[in-house]
Symmetry: C2
Amino acid sequence: MHSELWIEEKFEDFYGMRFKVEKVLFSGKSPFQTVDVVETKGHGRMLLNDGLIMVTERDEFVYHDMISHVPLFVHPDPKRVLIIGGGDGGTAREVLRHSSVESVVMVEIDKMVVDACVEFIPQTSKDLNHAKLELIIGDGLEYMRGDHKPFDVIIVDSTDPIGPAQPLFGPEFYQDINRLLTANGIVVSQGESPFMHPEVQESMLKLLGEIFPVVRSYNFSNLTYPGGLWSFSFCSKSLHPLQDFKAERVKTSGLEFDYYNEEVHRASFALPSFMQKRLAPYFKNGVRS
Amino acid sequence: MHSELWIEEKFEDFYGMRFKVEKVLFSGKSPFQTVDVVETKGHGRMLLNDGLIMVTERDEFVYHDMISHVPLFVHPDPKRVLIIGGGDGGTAREVLRHSSVESVVMVEIDKMVVDACVEFIPQTSKDLNHAKLELIIGDGLEYMRGDHKPFDVIIVDSTDPIGPAQPLFGPEFYQDINRLLTANGIVVSQGESPFMHPEVQESMLKLLGEIFPVVRSYNFSNLTYPGGLWSFSFCSKSLHPLQDFKAERVKTSGLEFDYYNEEVHRASFALPSFMQKRLAPYFKNGVRS
């Protein structure tokens, strides 16, 4: 290339984020979506599905820390973990750092995402061949309809509710999750942007509240999602993300993280007033003894 | 215009944020900087100095809540407040909501910023003619060299350390601030981006630590600064932003905010590990009894 190469993620028709690209490493079209991996100038390697930024090497630690360590440090002894989606491998990588975890099942619909990340983004995909990990290329929705040994933690590491991930935002999927969770099981899901998708957040929490006794949202800040502030939803059959969080478990784990720590854990549930006002009516704190 | 109009803020040579513009409302060049006000499609009216986004109507509440209410709720009885910069008026607007505040002095170097905001962004500038406010068009650095009745809270609401705000990131300015603070005075300053300007943050905190007994950083997340996550520095002669924060004062104030609340206050000081690791060596917690 003799011209400058830039990639842009547009949000609706009024906002865009542009990143300078040094090299296009992979560009394919799977049965589900387009898959691109580029080497950017400022953010390392970047994965895009259908033109939306999924991960960059520069800030993937934020997302993967927060989707993994929050539920895994609330659950007192997570042994079996299920990841729906997460094809880049970053969530699996973080989950596998927890010594209590005995087995991880990961169900990713798009083999092309996995293959592209294995070849071009080893930073996130490096543990996809881990002995404790069973990687299933298949439909997460289908998988959840089946009969499996229950999981302590289920992580829904999905794209947005357009394209292949759309059914992952529906009630049947979460009813199946509820069925496949242990008695004190936790499910955490990608929860969209408080600034950009308030209606999606509200309808998701409403749906989750009809299934789970504990429903909360928590936030994190990354570089490359529109608006910076982003959220996850935390649901469980009994465990509360703050009241049942034992900070000393973070210390005794011996693990260190670039984003997550015990203060960030608590702080991530402290929501700005505009978000609190909209979402708190849907929160459920379970039955406390 | 028959073509699409977009405005872009570039970060170095590898990242850009683009906003669709409906109309250019004002475009001028002052002795200090360029000043533009545009009507955007998705973010309301937007002020740019030297091409950098200062405020948008959509998310200015985040910045102005966090620069104002954090120090004003830590100080037990803030009466005299000084704002250096803040020409859009949003910080003054929030400060003036506190009933304890008897007088606010605001020193803004650039009359063109004030005039443009008074004319085109009433949302932020609406209280610039408030009876308790003395608006001085002048050099903040010069003002601080003078002799004034001490202030309980000083807010440095400046642009970045390039252009007219550069001296506001130097030691003389903060020595003068220290001199003009009451015995339990607090100073809060725009603290740049943890992702984008880690070196600026480190050198600022180092400098502040040589002057103030209490030095901390706190974060907020807005839509339109590169990277989303942004920070303020909090320094004081004695008051600690967490240990001396009485949450009940927020309730008894009767004030409601779109971003700030007592949980957000505490949470904003819980820093991600990568930031904690870099900045905590410069933090000072004062002498606790």
